[in-house]
Each structure stands twice: as structure tokens, then as C-alpha cells.
Symmetry: C2
Subunit: 233 residues, 2 copies
Amino acid sequence: MHNALKKKPVAHAIEPLRQHSLVTLAQNELERRIISDEIPAGTKLNEADIAAALGVSRGPVREAFRALGQAGLVRVEKNRGVFVREVSLTEASEFYEVRAALEGLIGKLAAQRIQAAEIAQLRSIIKKMHAGSRSRKADAYFALNVEFHDLLARAARNEVLLASYRNVVNQLDLYRRATISHSASNIPLSTKEHEAIVDAIEAGDHALAEKRLTAHVLASRTRLQEALAPAKK
Amino acid sequence: MHNALKKKPVAHAIEPLRQHSLVTLAQNELERRIISDEIPAGTKLNEADIAAALGVSRGPVREAFRALGQAGLVRVEKNRGVFVREVSLTEASEFYEVRAALEGLIGKLAAQRIQAAEIAQLRSIIKKMHAGSRSRKADAYFALNVEFHDLLARAARNEVLLASYRNVVNQLDLYRRATISHSASNIPLSTKEHEAIVDAIEAGDHALAEKRLTAHVLASRTRLQEALAPAKK
DNA sequence: TTTTTGCATATTGTTTACAATCTACAAACA
DNA sequence: TGTTTGTAGATTGTAAACAATATGCAAAAA
């Protein structure tokens, strides 16, 4: 069959057959820019401007706004416009409470369902964290941390949990992004916790994994709050 | 001041000052009809028809569809249309796992933050459950059950948790609605669990409340699955 | 008869135009 | 000087027109 009439991969003669509609395109692009802090929290999103920037009309942009509003990334005010959502300190605290519960379940399930290759990936991420930490690259650590926890969430083998987790984390990122520099000093401690988590999961101890992941999230919350309110000494 | 120039409540001379846009109106109405099973799972939602039924144009309807899609109530297929989401048995199982974790947190927090008036309300709901159960009104019990758990979720005093909880439960309802008749026989048992939950919360025992709520949700899952697979004997 | 092809129709995707509302600033008034 | 009111411009809300795609059915081919 290696010599059968092979169709040349014709370079999309007519059209690349757009897989995504302009709406999902706009939604993904806006989501990326918001999560990455390219568009900072509080920014007003002007329909016409964004439509022009993306090269589409206002319709698809409006639809993307609605989806992002439901996802909690923007706030939609009638006749006023849409704004990138701002997360207050107390709201962030609420997010951490919920995230701790979800991560607890992730730990419990991942300890029972994770595959060997995934454990290796987790260890690899931790190794990179060590490598990067000495050169004060808080930004790189942030990305690795997201990767670590998302991989763990996928290893729990529960699509609903994964969606809920990502939803909460996305919104929490609106808050954490602004405070990333504050947490640089806590990187070594946080990395130690990551190692202990993988140990528990690899051992298949679901109760311990649940406990350690919950504690890790709540400790992260405490560290962040202390970093933000240093006057409280 | 009781005699000051009192403006007659003029019957909205110009316009009632619409608080909600047509989009949120459409969204709320569709959400209500989907959750209540007025529009059953799997149904294809035709833009033009729904726009005509609601007396608006297609634009607002499309925006509402995007929001509902993000909320997980409908599935959007490019160039094919939107369909009321169908939840499979395995998906439902995943929902229950997540819901159990969220309810656990709800129990823990509610035990620490609930107010006396709310406890009285919970007891009142349970009383109504007893009254209705003897006349096989599974439908009424279903509504009371939703009310009970939603009140509990509000008593946890965490808006993020409340939103996540409602999101999960709404999608789970797509599944539970179809199976409501099956669970009639379990009403007495489930009501007993409700009483034990309120007892733990009233006592302020957050660990016990967490444990009982988690167990209650997982027991509900088991009961539902057994009711649906009676051949597995 | 069964399959395939082509066309008419219906439905969705997108754009454009228009209406309603808000915002900002300036003029009029106290 | 400070407040109110009116108007112009900008922005959002909605509707309607147009384009692209999918669907169903009938006719043609096997």
C-alpha cells in the first residue's frame, strides 16, 4: 500500500475548511489575552475596537463576550459594556476554598487512576522547577506550576472535575497574575510540597494525596495573603 | 411626610425601563425550560423558531446560546445547530463525584456560618418532605430537595462555591429529571439523611457535616444507579 | 432495486444598518 | 462659584439582509 496512488497534500486549494467559527476564534484569543494578563483586569473591552483588531464584525465578538461572561472572565453590564473581571481579596479567598476542595478530590482520584508515564511527567516538571528557581524566574515557575496542577487534574480521569477545576483556576489567575512577584520567595517551600504530593500519589495513598493537595492549596492562599498584607505583623 | 406630593404610580407611561437585555431574558427563559425538562435533553434548538417564540430577532438568541453552551446546558455544533445537552450514565457518575466534594465543603462551611433562621427553614423543608412523601409526589419532593440543598449552599457564605455548585447541579438535573420516578421509593431514607445533616450543622460539628453531606450525595448516586440497572442483580 | 449525483430548500454564520442608551462637556441658571 | 440641564458624540442593543453550509429528495446511473 506504500505505493498506492498517493494524493498529494494539495495546499488547500479552495479553503482551509475553517474548523472554528469566528466566535470560538475570538473567544479563545480573548481568553488567552486575559489569562496571560495581556489585557489586565478592569479593562473595558470595546466591541468595535476588538472586532477591528480581530478582523471580524461585532456579532461574533458579542457572542464571545457572552461565553466569557458565563465563564467568569468578564463582567457584562447592560448598556455600559464588558470589563475584564477584577477579583477582590475576599473573593480570591473564596476561590481558594473551593479550589482546595476540588484539588483534594483530584488528589484522591489521581492516586487511584494515574499512569506511570504521568508520574514521570510530574517529576520532570518538578525538576524544571528546581532548575529555574535559582535564577529568580518567578514567571517560569508560574507556568510550570500551572502545568503541574493541570496534568494532575487530567490524571484524575474525570472530565467534569477537570472543567470545574479549570474554571476556578482561570478566574483565580485574574488575581494571582497581579501578585506573582510576591510569591517568589516561597518557591522552594512550594516545590517541596509538590514532591510530597507526587510521593503520595505514586504510593497510591489516596487519603494522603487528598490531604496534601488540600493543604497545599490552603497554604498557597495563606502565603499569598501574607505577602499582600505585610503590615499585619 | 405621609402627605407629601405623592406621585401616582403612573402605569409606566413611557417604558418599564427594561432591567434585562433581550439576551438575558432569552437565556433565563431557555435555562428554565431546559432545567424543568419542558425542553427535553437532545432537542435541537432552532434559532429562528425560538426567536419568533420569544418575539425577538436571532441575534439575542444566538448570544444566549453561547452563554448556555458555556454553562454546559447545550451543545453547540458548528453549522449544525445547538442541542440540549444529554448526560450519559458515566458522565452523571462524574458529576456526582464532583458534587460530593462541593457538598462536603458546603457542609463544613455551613456548620460554621449558618444562621438560626436558616436552620429553621431547613427543618421546615424537611417537614414538607414528610408530608408529601406519603402521597407519592416524587415531583414535589424533587423540588423540595433542590430547595434544601440550595439553601444549604447559600448558608456556606461563599459565592464562588455557590456558583460552582449550581453549575454542577444544573447539568446534573439534565440527567436526574429523566429518572425522577425511579427514586420515589428512596424518599424516606433520603429524608432521614437530610435530618442527620441538619443535626450536624446545628451542632456546629463541621467535620461531621462535611462527612454526612458527602456520603449523602454518594448514596444518592448509588441509589440512582441501582434504580437504573435493576438487571444487575 | 440500490446507489449516487445534483439541485432546491432550510438553517446557520456573518455582516451591515438602524435604534436606544449612555457619557462628556458646555451653556444656562441659581 | 457651583449646580443643573441640554445637546453632540460615542457605544451598546437589536433587527434585518446577505453568504455559506447542511439537509432532504428526486432523478439518473449501476
